[in-house]
Assembly symmetry: none
Homo-oligomer: 210 residues x 4
DNA sequence: AATGAATGAGAGTTCATTCAT
DNA sequence: TATGAATGAACTCTCATTCAT
């Protein structure tokens, strides 16, 4: 009997189990038995929670970006300088991976295996995320923090790309210092790798390093 | 299965067909029948060219990074300033994707499905690539082009990450202007997004970017 | 796959079906579909009872010699004169075939197709059987029933060989009088085919050797 | 161009190769590629010598019993006492195995996989062999060498059974002393295992044993 | 006289899914 | 709420066979 509170709790566990298995073996490489085993139930019982393996993937993907998008909304709505928002975005994105929120990885790598019909909601959320991020960049340009010439679409995509790349590495290497990575990403995104020849550049380059 | 020239030619075509299918559907999502069909032969005949589906994946992955690593060697060995080398790396990496070399994407996304034994050669090549790239960054630091404080390992990983992220986008959107992307990536990596406040920043910002 | 009673019962039926099919067509000539059909289930369902066709063969072979060896133990432990034990052995062995225990035939003809690792248990049981039989012969020699010069190893192998040969014939010809065969085998094994002439027979027996 | 002498020679080699492979792996377990490899030619080329794998089996079986039956004819036609003929039969049969005439083993174990139509010739030859052997026994009874009560059909079958059983063992154990086995088989068949209680019997039982 | 290349049928096996209990 | 049992479709892979060369 769905609708129950307990049912929803169990279902959430099922989604997490599916996320874990999908992220390890990929959607097609994972079996419903794998998922059931991780949950501690039998294969057939899984269908009490999902109508199909595909629905499981759908739920995992949604779960993966839901709070991730939510946090972006919060960050975007907050009243901080650009640099702080960027840090918040990086932290939110990368700690998603570290908190074993394997669902995000699944969303990134496996969502294409959903039929396009079931992908629209995800696409909307993804677009929403990118647009918010773009908007943050636009604000940065407007208030003079960022270069006038900046292509904010490019910037947003690049941030997402870097975060996902480092996210994958972080997931695979639990000893990696996530906050160091976040810091270095922020430096890269703000100032790049090149040495500043001007007098004041040192102060800028230093700011915020632990 | 001789080392005939014709045989090797056909086999190369088979590898390309496999790359194409794997990149579209993933290793587990793709069927040997898919590959055979793309090649215009019957399913069973594939096994004239590969001992197994897994061997096909192996060959695709190797094919995917072979010349990619080769080009990196050439770039690293060349006698150019850092900025030029960076541009060359970005161009090589991203045009790998544009040239429909789907094998690179497959290498990135699917190589983990190979048994670890068959992955060592790939790992070596990948490490070699990253080390060469790191070395380019180290030279950049040494000659004063890059910040002293730069973590070259981080830098190399980030470049690879950004390239793969944009590579995926490029593969999916054939109308995207690849050279514009390359240019913007170079700008990001060199100078970041932040506005230069100092007097001299103009000189830096100028170099050839629109 | 629990240790349920019902499950074990069904599995036993599956083993018997496999025995029947293997004995008819040989291991490689039989298909899993054949076995499933004889069981009245669909091909894929067989794998609920066996992990592989090979495991089915293994189980059949074990089933084929298990009680056969057991009966030998009982006979060997019994307190009867040699002739009675011999009769019991022949009866046990041949009626194994008549009782449509096709598993024994499978064990004899197909066990070599098992990987050597899975054959050790069978080898042990087979050796055990032969040794018990040898021991019966040794007792026969010791109590004066059998010739002093008898090679008991040869004798045991020969009994097994004759039984298997007649067993094959018996399986194929259901009208054959099994007890007549048993009797004649006993006669052969005890006294051979030659006429007893009394005093002078020795001269004849010599001719033709070495 | 069949009919040539060279062709027939090559074909004979092909038959022997097939015999070797079939005896090792069974008819269904062997592949045409296996046979071709043993011959040193390529898979497709085998069809220059056989219309089908089945025809290969047919030829092997025929080859396996042809000279075996021939030798039986010679033995049966010869003018020797029963004991000598028996020895000749045993020697002929068992040395067939030792001479790596794997074809005989194939005939025994695999002929049932031929369609019954193609089996008639074999059946005739087999029957012929058994009848000749039976006839030898009948002569032995007639001349008083063998018991009056002997079932000659049973006797012939038993001889064949024992020979095949020991033949299998001999094939697998190249160190086994074949002539010792022949001698012991002869003893068994003539006099059985039981001790003779008559005064002179000791001499008989001893004769010929090393 | 032999082979490279291909084929198609069928093998064993896996797996998402169903359903009575 | 969960499971044991079964299914059928699909998959990877093998193999006897063919045929142009």
């Amino acid at each position: 009997m769905p609708g129950t509170d307990r049912y929803q709790q169990h279902r959430a566990q099922a989604i997490r189990a599916a996320a874990s298995v999908f992220s390890e073996k990929g959607f097609h490489g994972a079996t419903t038995r794998d998922i059931a085993e991780r949950l501690g139930i039998k294969q057939g019982s899984l269908y009490y929670y999902f109508r199909s393996k595909e629905e499981a993937l759908e739920e995992v993907c949604l779960f993966g970006i839901r709070d991730y998008v939510l946090r972006m909304d919060q960050i975007a709505a907050s009243d901080q300088p650009f640099e702080a928002k960027l840090m918040a975005v990086l932290t939110s994105h990368l700690s998603s991976y570290r908190e074993r929120n394997e669902a995000l990885k699944v969303h990134n790598d496996e969502r294409l295996y959903l039929p396009s019909g079931k992908r629209t909601r995800l696409k909307e959320l993804g677009t929403h995320y990118r647009e918010k991020l773009e908007h943050i960049f636009e604000e940065g340009v407007a208030d003079g923090t960022l270069r006038d010439s900046l292509d904010c679409h490019f910037a947003a995509q690049s941030v997402i790309g870097i975060c996902n790349a480092w996210g994958d590495i972080i997931v695979r290497d639990p000893d990696l210092d996530m906050f160091a990575v976040i810091q270095k990403c922020a430096d890269l995104l703000l100032d790049g790798f090149r040495e500043r020849r001007g007098a004041d550049s040192a102060a800028v380059a230093d700011s915020g390093h632990g």
